[in-house]
């Protein structure tokens, strides 16, 4: 049934929103722990829980409603000030946020009821909250809200609800909104109007034509009433205005308020408009300014026109507005987009880039003067389109980083270490897909630092450090890359112990001379772990190697910087996006390859010399090189003059011998199929302007793989050959 599909879609939207709300709960709780006096945080928390409960109610998700209701009751008490914020309470509430999150996850998997285990968990959690619930009020059903808000004045609202034509098809039943309204107040009057219903033949039974006018008596603030319609707001026309006989009350209240710079603020604090309505009105104002070009229409006029606020109230508010110019912050509006659509767009832009660079080649060949000018303009525009398309995928990394606050708190408690997390650069943006894929490696680094890096408090004091450890996560942009640093002020890496262990594990030949950097790099080797006691968290020897593998898979690099006794910083460097790279096109025989441009340091001609030699003299230094022709077994004779593309990987330079250098190219990476997943020196392919295919070289594995092959070859050889 299509109605089921629609329902599922609506549910998906709910799940997405719910996840944000749960995240908001968690963030807020952690913030509260740090700053128990933060009233605004308590408000935000309460609203998150309330919205969650309300929306869950619309979907009839009773398990979610009943559990969230208890959490909401506690948060309500916090908000009213009848319950103080205590670390114990925060500790009791955090697992509740987890539980809600688990239930939401269950929804995403299609479970509309809680499993037995979840139900048990829920009951257990509610039991832990019981001491905080005043007068044993632990209502398990989602009834009308208790008297907690009786203190605020009850007001009469007139709601004009014109639901979107498609709301029924989207699984939203207007009647359920009416039912829900009855739970936040008293519905005194409903007028159901079918005037919008067309003639018999045109009437489509699946389209919603009904409009309702509701009189609601409630103590809930306007934003809360508005929140009821959150999921249908976009397509519906929802007006919430004070009932006619209430206008005087608002006018009186506004007159009693202090002066303010902005009309919006006055109206907002009187409760007659909500933030959303204000934002919408400001948007209309902006739009008109653009269209008309003339003077801006006053905000008050728009609010009256839109039927949001009655004229007398606006007039009263205008009197309270100081005679200063109306300055307003830029309204940030966001829109949710299906990630798949975005990918499609970026893919198309990528194709455009390819097609455009191929016409570039064509014109350059034919040498048309006029067209080349136009061509240049097109090229600039395409470049801009590419940039803005890519920026659509960019999200600030802060959201992901803030999740670690919880980890640091929990792990710190578990280990008995007092550690504070300092996040800087949370507004640095990166590709959403990358954010998701880097989150696990980062998590591991954070745990690792807490476990191995930061010392227990006694040890710290003994060394004259502050007993409280600090973990820093810093993110910043650097030359087309994003750099994320995870640093602690702990004991630092023990050079000798790492070396001893590595020798012990056979990772390093005994007596080998290694630089510090090489030694510290060993911690990323598979099977390497220095933890004396295998703990619950890390120290199982799986981890750092996985971290490095994950980072390399994202075309990034990882390095470690450490000072004995002062701390360790692990630095991850990632490209900003996975979709497009700047590449350097080279030719070997009939084949084309792309070397990521950021790896290329220079290109030189291959000096004449013995054919079997695999190194050359580069300004007095030995430069080893790899012949791509023999590596990939490409048939044919090498060109007369071959070139060497010098690439740098982890500070080491290696040459790649190719026939022809074909120039820079913006490259859209097309992943290779699963069939090629084992090919580790190729990271993808791309389509060239002439329709040919070029393979994108993965420089890291290519170089390390080659050294390993070479090493194995040397071992097999009976006697070393000089030269």
């Amino acid at each position: 049934m299509s109605a089921d599909d629609d329902m599922r879609e609506a549910l998906e939207t709910f799940v997405t929103e719910a996840r944000d709300l749960v995240q908001g709960l968690e963030d807020g709780l952690l913030e509260l722990e740090g700053n128990p006096a933060a009233d605004e945080t308590v408000n935000t928390l309460f609203r998150a829980a309330h919205t969650l409960k309300g929306s869950a109610g619309l979907f009839g998700l009773d398990h979610l409603v009943s559990f969230t209701h208890v959490v909401e009751t506690i948060l309500g008490a916090l908000r009213e000030g009848t319950l103080p914020v205590s670390p114990g309470l925060v500790s009791a509430l955090l697992p509740c946020a987890d539980h809600i999150s688990a239930m939401v996850l269950g929804l995403a998997e299609g479970r509309l009821e809680s499993t037995d285990r979840e139900a048990d968990d829920g009951a257990r959690l509610i039991a832990t909250l019981a001491p905080y619930l005043s007068d044993g009020a632990a209502p398990v059903t989602a009834g009308p809200r208790a008297t907690e808000e009786a203190a605020t004045t009850t007001r009469m609202w007139r709601l004009a609800l014109r639901f979107g034509r498609d709301c029924l098809r989207n699984g939203m039943d207007p009647l359920s909104f009416l039912r829900y309204l009855a739970t936040i107040g008293t519905v005194t009057d409903v007028v159901t109007s079918a005037e919008g219903m067309p003639d018999l033949d045109e009437m489509d039974p699946e389209t919603c034509y009904l409009a309702f006018e509701v009189q609601l008596l409630t103590a809930a603030p306007k934003a809360e009433i508005e929140g009821v319609f959150e999921f249908v707001r976009d397509e519906s026309d929802i007006r919430i205005v004070p009932a006619d006989d209430q206008v005087d009350l608002y006018v009186k209240a506004i007159r009693a308020m202090p002066e303010s710079d902005r009309l919006g603020d006055v109206l907002l604090s009187s409760g007659v408009v909500t933030e959303l309505e204000l934002v919408e009105a400001l948007r209309i104002q902006e739009q008109r300014k653009k269209l008309g070009g003339a003077e801006a229409v006053p905000l008050g006029t728009i609010l009256v026109e839109q039927g949001i606020v009655p004229r007398p109230i606006v007039d009263a508010a205008l009197n309270r507005q100081r005679k200063t110019a109306e300055i307003r912050s830029q309204d940030t509006q966001t829109i949710r987009i299906d990630a798949a659509r975005l990918d499609k767009l970026i893919d198309l832009v990528g194709e455009l880039v390819i097609a455009q660079s191929s016409t570039g080649v064509g014109t350059a060949a034919s040498g048309g003067h006029q067209s080349s000018e136009a061509q240049g303009e097109v090229m600039r525009l395409v470049d801009e389109v590419r940039h803005s398309a890519l920026s659509l995928r960019m999200v600030p990394i802060g959201t992901t980083l803030r999740r670690f606050e919880r980890v640091v708190r929990d792990v710190g408690m578990e280990l008995g270490k007092d550690v504070v997390l300092v996040i800087t650069g949370g507004d640095a943006e990166m590709d959403k897909a990358l954010v998701e894929r880097i989150s696990d490696p980062l998590l591991h680094l954070v745990r690792n630092s807490l476990d191995h890096g930061v010392e227990p408090a006694e040890e710290r004091t003994r060394h004259g450090k502050a007993s409280r450890g600090t973990l820093r996560i810093n993110a910043y942009h650097d030359a087309g890359n994003i750099v994320i640093e995870v640093g602690d002020d702990g004991r630092g890496l023990d050079r000798e112990r790492i070396l001893a262990k590595a020798t012990d594990r056979g990772l390093v030949a005994p007596g080998a001379t290694l630089t510090d950097a090489e030694i510290f790099d060993l911690i990323f080797e598979p099977g390497f772990s220095t933890a004396e006691a295998v703990s619950n968290l890390s120290g199982r020897g799986v981890g750092m190697d996985v971290v490095r593998r994950n980072v390399t898979a994202l075309r990034g690099s990882i390095e470690v910087e450490t000072t004995r006794g002062a701390g360790t910083t692990i630095r991850i460097r990632l490209p900003l996006t996975l979709a497009i790279i700047d590449g350097f096109l080279v030719g070997v025989g009939q084949s084309s390859f792309i070397v990521p441009l950021d790896r290329v340091t220079e290109c030189v001609e291959l000096p004449q010399g013995p054919l079997n030699r695999d190194c050359m003299n580069l300004r007095g230094e030995v430069l080893p090189f790899i012949r791509l022709r023999s590596l990939f077994g490409i048939p044919g004779e090498p060109a007369q003059r071959q070139n060497v593309v010098i690439v740098e990987q982890s500070g080491l330079r290696t040459g790649l011998v190719v026939d022809a250098l074909l120039g820079e190219l913006q490259t859209v990476i097309k992943p290779l199929g699963v069939l090629f997943s084992k090919v580790d020196c190729i990271s993808g392919s791309t389509i060239l302007g002439d329709g040919g295919i070029a393979l994108i070289l993965d420089v890291g594995p290519l170089v390390t793989g080659h050294s390993e092959r070479e090493y194995a070859r040397q071992l097999r050889r009976p006697a070393p050959v000089g030269g």
């Binding site: 029924l168 009647l175 009057d189 159901t192 079918a194 219903m197 039974p205």
Partner: protein, 92 residues
């Protein structure tokens, strides 16, 4: 006004978005006959906005044709909806 006796028409099962189209056809076809119609809603298990719209459409259409349609014996599901939408007078 016609003089023929009122006819009783029963609606059974779900009266929701999934069946609204079907019920629309069926109920409108009953308006072709003579005389007032009493819609027996005792067998309606579920009623949503789509269903309610169909009922309102039938009532409106009947007025155009000069006959009266009355809702009778609403099931609990119907009664609840009529109560929240405050459309009790359709029953009269």
């Amino acid at each position: 006004m016609t003089t023929a006796a009122a006819r009783r028409v029963s609606v059974e099962g779900e009266l929701t978005i999934s069946t609204a189209a079907e019920h629309k056809q069926k109920l409108l076809s009953t308006l072709h006959g003579d005389g007032d119609v009493l819609l027996d809603l005792s067998g309606v298990a579920e009623l949503d906005t789509a269903g309610l719209q169909v009922l309102l459409l039938v009532v409106r259409e009947s007025a155009v044709r000069g006959i009266a349609v009355r809702l009778r014996d609403p099931s609990p599901a119907v009664a609840e909806v009529l109560a929240i939408a405050q459309l009790r007078d359709l029953e009269a």
